[in-house]
């Protein structure tokens, strides 16, 4: 049996990778994917503890997070597409103004 701490370390590593990606990448799509990475890192923790303590609450939380992430992906990708159409770029440094 794999110890609990391994799962948690993997979860923390995924989350940290997500943060670093979010902070240092310029491409909007990459940043978006980093957010998904953070969400899934947290999901892994939930599932781990649900399994450990035999509680279903954690798994339900994971479903909620997935639903939110899916909705967010739909809205977010739509925004990204329209930004790309308007600005012809996805570098966040170039699109820090609301004005065209």
């Amino acid at each position: 049996m794999i110890p609990l701490s391994w799962y948690l370390l993997l979860s923390a590593a995924l989350f940290a990778l997500g943060i670093v990606g979010f902070l240092i990448r310029r491409n909007l799509i990459t940043i978006f994917m980093s957010i998904e990475l953070m969400l899934n890192g947290v999901n892994l923790s939930f599932v781990t503890f649900a399994h450990q303590w035999h509680l279903v609450k954690g798994q339900i939380f994971v479903f909620f997070v997935m639903v939110v992430a899916a909705a967010e992906a739909a809205v977010g990708l739509a925004i990204i597409i329209s930004i790309f159409r308007a600005r012809a770029t996805l570098a966040v440094d170039r699109i820090d103004l609301m004005k065209l």
Binding site: I19, F22, L23, D96
Partner: protein, 652 residues
């Protein structure tokens, strides 16, 4: 209270009502209504005073009568001060003068101010003055008197600066106010000392306490008396604080007559007479008063010799005559001083009103050198003025003769010092006679010196008061000092008569009248018989002449020694210390603090999304660290024991 009703509070309150009505609504009221209100107020006060005087002389009244108005004004610990109004012989005399002469001057003002801008404002101030003056005179304690004292100063300031568009008038008002403040400071210190030493401010209680301790002399009493004297010198324009009165002539002429000749400036004399029990106990203070009075009388009379502005001559003459009154107080002849106060109120008010009539008739000309030959053009003004001139010069049987003589006689009886005071006094009488006849000749006799002026006689609203005051100036002294002194003695003590005799009195009177005639003759010679002579004389003694013409340079001296240093220090304090260092420094400190914290905090608000996210992550990490590390045990390793019960909750 027993005895008949005196309505004392109404005496000041009626003019105050007039002030409120005219002051608040005067600008919107029609002119006749303003006049009516302004005249009814002093007339009502006069009627009450006459009613009270009738009660007094019919014997239905026990004086001094005191009317208290409940509730008490100030009540703290053992100190009780109320709005007590005192009615005795002294305040009755003063009230008759103030309301009587005041009412006449109100009537005169209707004619004099008829075409002036701010008619209603003028009468509002005039009524306000009457309010404070009657409070001053009626006050039964020193604090209430101080209220009136300050109030008349305010009214005086407002009226001197009545033509406030003229810088000189505004400046003169300011000067009068500031110089009076110096005197008021002395008065206030005197009040505090009274409170500390007597525990009361009521005049009657102070007199009772003094009477109970016959051996109490000098010392702190001298100190109190000198402080009160400083107040009196400010209000009554004596050395060293007389400088404001000549400048006060910038006000309308009836104001000069009412405030700066007849009533307000005599407040100092009244105050000394009111506190005579105190002054009697301090021979040193009395001597100082006599010296101040004599010196002022002589100094002002010499300045008056060469002035060319008709009102300034009269102003210096007022200062000089007030000096006589102080001399009277200084030799403990208070009733003689009050007697002279009364006759002076008649003839000096008349002089100013007649001078106002001349100025009015000449369309505002005040320079004596441009007048002349007005006798034919203004006969009534001329004859009333003549009565006043003879009265002030001290000719028998005019009013001034009796009162001035009473003072000089009382001074003569006061040992060696008194002889000196008397000698200076009669010499001043000669000067007085000279400068008054000089004015008389220059203005009314001789040939007109300015053909471009077209003098005309004044309206009857102005001439009526002149005629009444002329009658008083002639006959106001016939009562004689013996009867008058007897009447006043319950309030101010008897006249000193030790070592006197009627033959001595007669001799001194003849000497004084002889000197007055000499003064008249010199004036006649110089300004009537040989009109070219004065200019030659002035040229031959140009040094003393310039000294007098420039009023001994006292204003310049005060300006250089007192005003300039004070202004410099004030400027320094205001502009450098307060404005720059305190206010400016504080403002810059606060502004700098705000800018510094802004400069630091604005780094966080970069507008850069990624830096926000980084701070967010760092914050989350810090929270995590705080929650996971067992701080209590970590710190305990370093010997620090934290009580975190409050933080984690008591249950943990």
């Amino acid at each position: 209270m027993n005895g008949p009703l005196l309505f004392l509070p109404l005496i000041p309150l009626l003019p105050f009502a007039g002030f409120l009505l005219n002051g608040l609504f005067g600008s919107r009221l029609p002119k006749p209504l303003v006049t009516l209100i302004a005249l009814l107020a002093p007339l009502g006060s006069l009627a009450i005073v006459v009613h009270d005087a009738y009660l007094y002389w019919s014997g239905a009244l026990a004086v001094p009568a005191i009317e208290h108005s409940a509730p008490a004004w100030i009540s703290a610990g053992t100190l009780h001060i109320d709005f007590g109004f005192v009615f005795d012989q002294l305040s009755l005399t003063m009230l008759l003068i103030i309301t009587g002469v005041g009412f006449l001057i109100h009537i005169y003002s209707v004619g004099y101010m008829a075409h002036e801008e701010g008619y209603w404002r003028y009468f509002a101030y005039l009524n306000l003055f009457l309010f404070f003056m009657t409070v001053l005179v009626l006050a039964g304690n020193a604090l209430l008197m101080f209220v009136g004292w300050e109030g008349v100063g305010l009214a005086s300031y407002l009226l001197i600066g009545f033509y406030f568009k003229r810088t000189s008038a505004a400046d003169a008002g300011k000067k009068a106010f500031v110089v009076n403040r110096i005197g008021d400071f002395g008065f206030l210190i005197g009040i505090f000392l009274l409170l500390a030493n007597f525990g009361t401010l009521s005049f009657s209680e102070i007199a009772t306490k003094l009477a109970a301790n016959p051996g109490w002399q000098g010392g702190v009493l001298t100190c109190i008396a000198l402080c009160l004297l400083l107040g009196a010198t400010g209000k009554s324009a004596q050395l060293p604080l007389y400088v404001w009165l000549p400048d006060a002539m910038e006000g309308p002429t009836p104001v000069s007559a009412l405030i700066h000749a007849a009533t307000m400036v005599t407040a100092g004399v009244y105050m000394i007479a009111r506190n005579h029990a105190l002054f009697d106990r301090s021979p040193l203070a009395l001597t100082v008063i006599a010296i101040v009075g004599t010196a002022t009388a002589l100094l002002a009379a010499t300045i008056a010799l060469v002035q060319t502005d008709i009102k300034r001559v009269l102003a210096y003459s007022t200062v000089s005559q007030l000096g006589y009154m102080f001399l009277g107080c200084g030799v403990a002849a208070y009733s003689a001083a009050v007697f002279h106060l009364m006759t002076h109120a008649f003839f000096k008010a008349l002089l100013f009103l007649a001078a106002g009539s001349v100025i009015h008739g000449l369309g505002g000309e005040q320079d004596l050198r441009k007048m002349g030959g007005l006798r034919k053009k203004m006969p009534i003004t001329f004859w009333t003025m003549t009565a006043a001139v003879f009265a002030i010069a001290g000719f028998f049987p005019f009013a001034g003769f009796f009162s001035k003589d009473a003072i000089l006689y009382a001074a003569f009886l006061q040992g060696t010092n008194g002889k000196i005071f008397w000698a200076v006094g009669v010499f001043t009488a000669l000067l007085t006679s000279f400068y008054m006849f000089r004015l008389w000749y220059l203005a009314f006799l001789g040939k007109p010196r300015s053909p471009e002026l077209h003098p005309h006689e004044s309206p009857w609203s102005m001439l009526g008061p002149l005629v009444i005051l002329a009658a008083l100036s002639v006959g106001g002294g016939w009562i004689g000092i013996e009867k008058f002194g007897g009447f006043l003695s319950p309030a101010v003590g008897p006249m000193p008569t030790k070592g006197g005799s009627s033959s001595l009195e007669l001799t001194l009177s003849i000497a004084a009248v002889a000197l007055a005639i000499v003064g008249w003759l010199i004036a006649h010679l110089l300004y009537f018989a040989k009109p070219e002579k004065p200019a030659q004389l002035a040229a031959s003694v140009s040094g003393p002449y310039k000294l007098l013409l420039n009023k001994y340079w006292v204003d310049e001296l005060y300006g250089a020694v007192i005003v300039k240093p004070i202004l410099a220090v004030s400027r320094f304090l205001l502009e450098w210390l307060v404005e720059f260092a305190i206010l400016g420094g504080l403002a810059w400190l606060l502004a700098g603090l705000a800018m510094l914290s802004g400069a630091i905090l604005q780094k966080w608000q970069s507008g850069n999304l990624r830096s926000y996210a980084a701070w967010l992550a760092a914050g989350a990490a810090a929270l995590l660290l705080f929650a996971l590390v067992p701080w209590t045990s970590v710190l305990a390793n370093f010997g620090i024991h934290l009580n975190l019960v409050h933080f984690y909750g008591a249950g943990r």
